[in-house]
Symmetry: C2
Subunit: 406 residues, 2 copies
């Protein structure tokens, strides 16, 4: 590994996109690592991502005590505030003006694939503008859909929430029967919805059906699947990704929502529409009387106290690695979590190019999806278990029959 020439200056860090339960671990990891390097002088935070750069809305992170930083690290959602914004050429010119003014030579942007795209755009414009700085994307996303990464910070904790929720909801459905549909986040990647499969402890436990955006969704097939499970178990718990699409690629929810952000993403969350569409269809077509739908919504990404320890530790390390890479090894890039080919779970934190992470979505590999398209495979469970860690224990009565009854 070559060592870069020393670049003395201030550092700026910001957060972007959807919050996660551990995104502040990455922030704190980067801030604490920066304190170890003499070439990084002051450490600033921009509020609400690049909007805070455009508005010169900075705070001095050098004035934060380690104890307070630890409290922030344990707290869900972006402590610096977030934004969903794709920078224009004019925005970039303004950004470099602000960065120059404050002698900012290190820039870190914590976010998902849209934020990686933003970082890539800024880096491209910096080259043209001959602005000499080090520019890193620090990965996070509960959707787990970043290319180059085995998995991403935020996913493990969100998956723990989803699996826990399904464990409880499976008990609930077992008590009262009928069909229960739960809509899970993840946009066009099914990983988070698939994590619901961790909830299965006993063979008859739900989720009995799992629908992922990687496979076309057919309403008639859905009704058929549910009727089959109802026949077998007398009840049915279903995990559905918010991003399911029909065979033409049109989101099932599309007819009911119009909102689109500046990266071109349709609003999938913050509405119960998809669950209600599916529940009404089932009631109408199958004659099953008790059909309920819940949309887990934002709770999945910001619920305090339900965190994966592995996820929290890795999120912290992504921040620290980014700063270390920027100071010594690379002028730009993204920190990727890559799994070692070892028997015991282990990862390494590598630098990859911004372009290779930006924009495009990583989908569930075919090996993780059951051939019927409505369940996951054992390979997926082996993949996901170490990311989530221990789950609550689910007790069950032995149901010893009473003698003399049928």
């Amino acid at each position: 590994m070559t060592t870069l020439p020393e670049l003395k200056g201030n550092m700026l860090i910001a957060q972007s996109g959807g919050p996660t339960a551990v995104i502040n671990q990455t922030l704190v990891g980067a801030v604490l690592e920066a304190r170890k390097h003499e070439s990084i002088q002051k450490v600033f935070g921009a509020k609400h991502g690049i909007q805070g750069i455009l508005d010169e809305d900075f705070i001095n992170l050098g004035r934060e005590t380690p104890a307070n930083l630890e409290r922030v690290a344990q707290t869900p959602s972006s402590a610096l505030g977030s934004v969903r914004k794709k920078p224009t050429a004019d925005d970039c010119a303004k950004i470099f003006e602000v960065l120059r003014k404050h002698n900012i030579r290190y820039f870190f942007y914590i976010g998902g694939n849209d934020s990686a795209e933003t970082t890539y755009i800024i880096h491209q414009h910096a080259k043209k503008a001959k602005f000499d700085f080090r520019c890193f994307h620090l990965c996070k996303t509960i959707d787990n859909d970043l290319r180059q990464n085995d998995h991403t910070p935020g996913f493990g904790s969100a998956a723990k929430f989803v699996a826990s929720a399904f464990m409880g909801d499976n008990q609930d459905n077992r008590a009262l029967g009928g069909v229960k549909i739960n809509i899970v986040m993840g946009r066009h990647a099914g990983f988070l919805t698939a994590a619901s499969a961790l909830a299965k402890v006993y063979p008859d436990d739900g989720p009995h059906l799992i629908y992922l955006p990687e496979r076309p969704f057919s309403m008639s097939r859905f009704c058929k699947d549910v009727k089959k499970v109802m026949k077998e178990h007398g009840r049915c718990v279903i995990a559905v990704s918010e991003g399911i699409c029909d065979s033409k690629g049109t989101p099932i929810i599309a007819a009911h929502t119009q909102e689109v952000d500046s990266h071109g993403n349709v609003q999938l969350s913050g509405t119960g529409a998809l669950g209600d569409i599916l529940a009404n269809e089932l009631k109408a077509k199958t004659g099953i009387s008790r059909v309920r739908a819940d949309t887990f919504g934002y709770l999945q990404r910001s619920f305090p106290g339900v965190m994966s320890h592995v996820d929290a530790a890795e999120a912290r390390q992504v921040g620290a690695s980014g700063v270390a890479f920027a100071v010594k090894d690379f002028e730009n890039g993204s920190v990727a979590i890559q799994r070692k080919k070892s028997k015991r779970y282990a990862v390494e934190f590598n630098r990859v190019t911004l372009k290779s992470v930006a924009k495009e979505t990583r989908h569930m590999p075919a090996a993780f999806i059951h051939k019927d398209g409505n369940q996951v495979t054992e390979a997926f469970l082996t993949y996901v278990r170490p990311l989530v860690g221990p789950l609550p224990e689910m007790g069950r009565l032995k149901d010893v029959p009473v003698k003399g009854i049928k």
Copy 2:
């Protein structure tokens, strides 16, 4: 206290209505207490409430080990299965036939006000049928709406889930702005929705507005309230009870649902309709662009790992007290949790009549609701805090300004 004559026989216990996170504590409390009394011979459980009596679907709880019972006690949702069913006179006749056949002389029914009504109906018919048995209702409900009770098992844990969810969601809203509406369970009682107020740590934290079913809901007033909060904080987190009604008493969700159970209750949960109605109204009438709605749904009552310790311990004691009362002191009744008038939080478990608990709903007292009808009072917070116990810590950056910036 008089002591009843000894009644030797078997015991039957069942669970009814909506599950809670600690309803199995009550089951286990009763089963373990029964083992201490010689007059109780065998201990049976009926599956799915009174339906299991009608179907003679019993299990032998005497064969459960203490270790397995402890695992079940920690597991959310009704381990025996549940039902929503009001017994007819014919059902009661059949019930006594089954109870006689199995020499059941002790009957315990764990549930809310509908289940108390069921227990009351069974007890009334037993008197007419001259069936000599002891018949108790054991309280539970996350809605916290049982008369005679200071609070009910299940509420504290559900309130902890709701408060935690709002803590995280407040951070989420702080990061991305806009309006966030969260629909909370509770039917016609606002206690659970009101518990969202525990999420407030810093003065600008949400929930900024809380709408309870105890006060008529006006859509125009709602839009006005939200605009005011948006002006003050630039964001708005709102807690809305699923049971809010207009000034004529019609549920706001009513236009969108038709399902009614045998106790006459309209389906309020398991649909995102109310959240979407409110979000769409806000978008249309206020011009606020980012409005999101989540419906917490069944997660509130069955989420594993998020339990109030006080709630779990009290739920256990309700089961134990019911059995002790039935063996020694009373032929029938309901176990009520009543708070002592002491400085430090303390409760006693008293027997009250079945009739005084059955059917009718207890509402939030006026002293708990702010005069504006869109917040709770300090008196409510004092009431609810000990029921929920410690909540996650919420860290926040100090936001020290950068010198030389505006």
